[in-house]
């Protein structure tokens, strides 16, 4: 089907937001990243708000939103509830993020759990038998993997730039690397689904991505920019900080280049996930595409 740009922007931004909340939640539990939690929480809330506003652009009649919870079982309603919950708890967490006490820990964990749930809920709302290329658990996992990668990379950059970059950078970059690896695994899992989905048809086949009209988007956009570059940078950064964090002066010099590289990795991960989501729309044809 046609790319639904407002929904694509919404899902990408909420993914980054979710990744940041999960990173902060880990930091709360491990008593690290205190200096960057507020900045991260603020960025996450802003991204969630912008994404939410973008999704409204998709609607023909947003003023009828009062009817929106009439069918709680609808994927869209569940998405709305999850976004609302994360928005409220994320807003409250803003006031607690700098305090590093029990309350911040509790809210940090709650927002982290919601951060894990939200991309899955968003992705699962697209799981429908009518569109075989979407009808798999690999789709919500794809959303989650991309969100964790982007969010963790961004937060790792903030940690490296912060006052405890040397002490906490290794752990932050380990998380960033894990996030990127999760993104790679979830992308591969989704591609496997595309290859084995029922009701195979040329317009939603894996060959369309690998060697067809979507090949350039796939290889350049998804594989190279979206996976190889972030993975390469995350690996390099993790290795670099492991070497320099023991040396007094070197860690300070590495800050700028490390953080810059991580930001580039984050941008690439976001771009790659946006391109992959475009592909997901384009191969999301219905089982029988009769009229449209």
């Amino acid at each position: 089907m046609e790319i639904q740009w407002p929904l694509l922007v919404f899902s990408v931004l909420l993914g980054i937001s979710s990744g940041i909340y999960v990173f902060n939640g880990i930091g709360e539990v491990k008593n690290v990243f205190k200096e960057v939690r507020f900045k991260g929480a603020l960025i996450a809330l802003i991204l969630l708000a912008i994404g939410g506003c973008a999704s409204v652009l998709h609607l023909g009649h947003p003023e009828r939103a009062t009817h929106l919870l009439a069918n709680i079982g609808s994927g869209l309603s569940m998405e709305l509830i999850a976004v609302g919950l994360l928005g409220v708890t994320g807003f409250i967490y803003l006031f607690l993020a700098k305090r590093a006490n029990t309350a911040s820990k509790v809210l940090g964990v709650i927002t982290a759990l919601l951060g894990l749930a939200l991309p899955c809920i968003t992705g699962s709302s697209f799981m429908m038998a009518a569109r075989p290329a979407w009808d798999s658990i690999t789709l919500p996992l794809l959303y989650l993997g991309a969100g964790l990668a982007a969010g963790f990379l961004l937060m790792a950059a903030l940690v490296v730039l912060g006052p405890k970059g040397k002490e906490e950078g290794k752990f932050a970059l380990m998380l960033a690397l894990i996030g990127v690896l999760l993104m790679v695994v979830t992308v591969i899992a989704y591609l496997i689904w595309v290859a084995v989905a029922p009701h195979q048809a040329p317009e939603r086949s894996l060959s369309r991505l690998v060697s067809g009209d979507l090949a350039l988007m796939f290889w350049a956009g998804v594989v190279l920019i979206g996976l190889v570059v972030p993975a390469g940078i995350a690996l390099w950064a993790r290795t670099k900080i492991a070497k320099t964090s023991n040396a007094e002066g070197a860690a300070l010099k590495a800050k700028g280049s490390l953080a810059g590289a991580l930001i580039i990795a984050c941008i690439c991960a976001v771009a790659g996930s946006a391109i992959l989501r475009s592909i997901v729309y384009l191969i999301g044809t219905s089982v029988e595409q009769f009229i449209y």
């Binding site: 639904q4 609607l59 023909g60 609808s74 009518a130 999301g284 029988e288 009229i291 449209y292």
Partner: protein
Amino acid sequence: MTRNIISVDLDSCVGCHSCAVVCKQENDVNLGIYYNKVLTVGPTGTFPDLEMYYLPVACQHCDNPQCVSVCPTNASYKREDGIVLVDHSKCIGCQYCIMACPYGVRAYDESPNKGVIEKCTMCAHLVDAGDKPACVKICPGQARKFGDLEDPSSDPAQMSAAKNTHKLVDVGNGPGVEYGLDRFTWRGEE
């Protein structure tokens, strides 16, 4: 329980598109939007054993309509008599139902005074007045049959009893429309 449906006898359908045209007239359907389309299936086979038939496709008024289950505002609903409709006063135009439909028979009308989902209504306004849907009345080949499938004396039930019938691919939604076809080989996935 009443189960109103429009069944189509493909052996009688000549592909004149009258049903598609009258549907647009009756329901004042905007340009670019289609409630009903007549597709050409074929030619298939090898000369001289060639086959071709016409397949009118509109909303299948499914038994388990996915468009209804995904609708966040309950704008999409299934009436007790089986007709699936969209309440435009509740429709927010999220297009979720379009994604959920296996047949691509719903459309988003983005013209300024619309912004809602449109599809075949089985001419509910005519049915409620005791009349038949416009496409059924206009069909010169009398290929379209309207009635209560649960009533053995109805036209759809009689066609179902007399012919080999087929439905569009079912992915759990239970399409309601039966297509009668004896003369040729059904080319759809079942």
